[in-house]
Amino acid sequence: MREIREDITMIDVQDVSMRFMMSNDKIGSLKEMVTQLIKGKIKFKEFWALRDVDFQVKKGEVVGIIGRNGAGKSTILKIISGIMKPTKGRVVRNGNIVPMLELGSGFDFDLSGRENVFLNGAILGYSKEFLMEKFDEILEFSELGEFIEMPIRNYSSGMMMRLAFSIATVVEPEILIVDEILAVGDENFQRKSRQRMMELMSGGTTVLFVSHNMDQIREMCNRVVWLDGGTVRMIGETKEVCDAYKL
């Protein structure tokens, strides 16, 4: 089974709160801004997407995050990966984080498949040597063959997804963030990609896993955080939390 090191904290989320200011209408131009300011019409509505969220993830754990739409799951992932800064509180990270991107964001359609592997890899924070070394593996997994030298605007959507998936999952991160298990392509590739995800997640790295699929959560996670309306409703063993969530 997995080895969990209780003494090493990989992610420490300390009392994180996130506030969004919602103006009545989004102001998109200087003119609007000025006229609205003069009229004294800009009112902000506060919206707390997260309130005092506090939990730790130990090394080797797979922690699931569950909750309804709008509970703040994506926001907490964005804060943990450093894309957003929390309004209050802070997050301490103890390793490099690789996010499972929405597949294909960062692709450039005029470049060839090969060039995109390097571009996308660089965006994900891989080093040049690492990509050189893994290039054949990526190529093989994507089953693209000679098409790798073609500009990807000529790819079919299936080909593009296969390439994106292959790049995204070649990683060996210390912390992996997974927003829903990705299964793409035809039936054969779907099976292959699901298996690859499972391997990645069970490979001993620390994983943060967001999903609406309770079966997957039950299968993969040791601990679960249940977010509800921006606060932690419950945190604990997978079975307990999942049972409570179902009710």
Partner: protein
């Protein structure tokens, strides 16, 4: 991924080497200016050595910080450059590759564009203006210097303006220090500026054969001019790209403003045109950074000598000042980008 620390010994050696080479080239090409300036020959070596010592001391200070794991801006900078070097390379090569990807002449346009523009403007304006009265001798080259410098600047700035909004899909999904986007945009567009030095030098050489204008050793000062322009543009890019996030109007404002700026800079005309008619504009010109950069370039190419030392100080101050202003605004606003794009 690798957690090795930056090899400061190597960085230090390279820095010192680069400094010495720059110093030698500069001293060689700008010797007469140094002689004529207030600091004279005697003080110059002293300044040079003091600077060298300062560099060495700073590197030692950084090494000390690294050993004690203390924080320092310089060290942070080195670490991020090292960490994101590969990403920057990739982003720059992407921007550069796709620019001409679907055109037949491809990268040739970088050479052709300024030449064609120069040709058109030469035909039009050499008839319109009283060139003698403006004190311009080699108008074709005069134009070319101006056009290349201005276009380099305006291309880079316009590209950088879209750096944040154009990469929105990345910024919302993966963490990368955001200043990388405008900087890489400026650098990738800066390659064009660099490439356009080829037609500039080539045309000057050919033109010079028939009109008695010779390139001198002063051309070794061109890199300094380019660095001034690029640093200035990075500052402008920071400013524009962060403003662009909040107000998309900036795009259109910049279009008008940059046109105004272009006409306010003596690119197609000579500054003597203004003398007597609009003295206030001549005064104001001293505060136009682009005027200084363009003149800098023209002194090197047309006069074949180094600009006065005070010009280096003025240009450097403008570049550094703009960089600081831009970086300040960018840093202040960058955490809010994600909420607006």
């Amino acid at each position: 991924m690798n957690k090795k620390k930056a090899d400061l010994n190597k960085i230090g050696q390279v820095t010192v080497l680069v400094y010495v080479v720059c110093l030698l080239v500069f001293t060689w090409t700008a010797w007469s200016q140094i002689q004529n300036s207030r600091i004279r020959g005697g003080v110059y070596p002293v300044i040079a050595i003091v600077l060298l010592l300062l560099i060495i001391l700073y590197i030692l200070h950084l090494k000390n910080c690294q050993k004690k794991e203390k924080k320092s801006i310089g060290l942070d900078f080195i670490e991020t450059v090292r960490k994101y070097k590969f990403l920057m390379e990739q982003l720059i090569s992407r921007d550069f590759k796709i620019k001409y990807k679907r055109s037949i002449l491809g990268v040739f346009w970088s050479f052709l564009n300024p030449l064609l523009m120069m040709l058109v403007q030469y035909v039009v304006f050499s008839k319109l203006f009283d060139l003698r009265g403006m004190g311009i001798t080699h108008y074709a080259i005069y134009l070319l210097c101006g056009i290349i410098t201005w276009n380099g600047f305006s291309d880079c700035a316009t590209q950088a303006m879209h750096a944040i909004t154009g990469n929105a899909s990345l910024i919302t999904k993966v963490y990368v220090p955001k200043y990388i986007y405008p900087v890489t945009k400026v650098l990738s567009a800066g390659i064009n500026l660099l490439l356009s030095m080829v037609p500039l030098l080539l045309v000057t050489f050919i033109y010079g054969l028939f009109n008695g204008l010779y390139l001198t050793k002063a051309i070794f000062l061109i890199p300094i001019a380019l660095i001034f322009v690029i640093v200035f543009t990075i500052g402008v890019g920071f400013l524009l790209s962060s403003l662009m996030v909040f107000f998309h109007d900036v795009e259109f404002l910049w279009g008008v403003f940059s046109m105004m700026w272009m006409y306010a800079t003596p690119i197609i005309y000579g500054i003597d045109l203004l003398r007597g008619k609009a003295e206030w504009l001549v005064m104001l010109m001293e505060f136009n950074p682009m005027y200084h950069y363009v003149s800098f370039m023209r002194t090197i190419i047309i006069d074949g000598c180094s600009p006065a030392l005070s010009e280096y100080v003025i240009c450097g101050a403008f570049s550094l000042g703009m960089l600081i202003i831009g970086a300040f605004v960018f840093k202040k606003t960058q955490d809010k980008f994600i909420l607006y794009i």
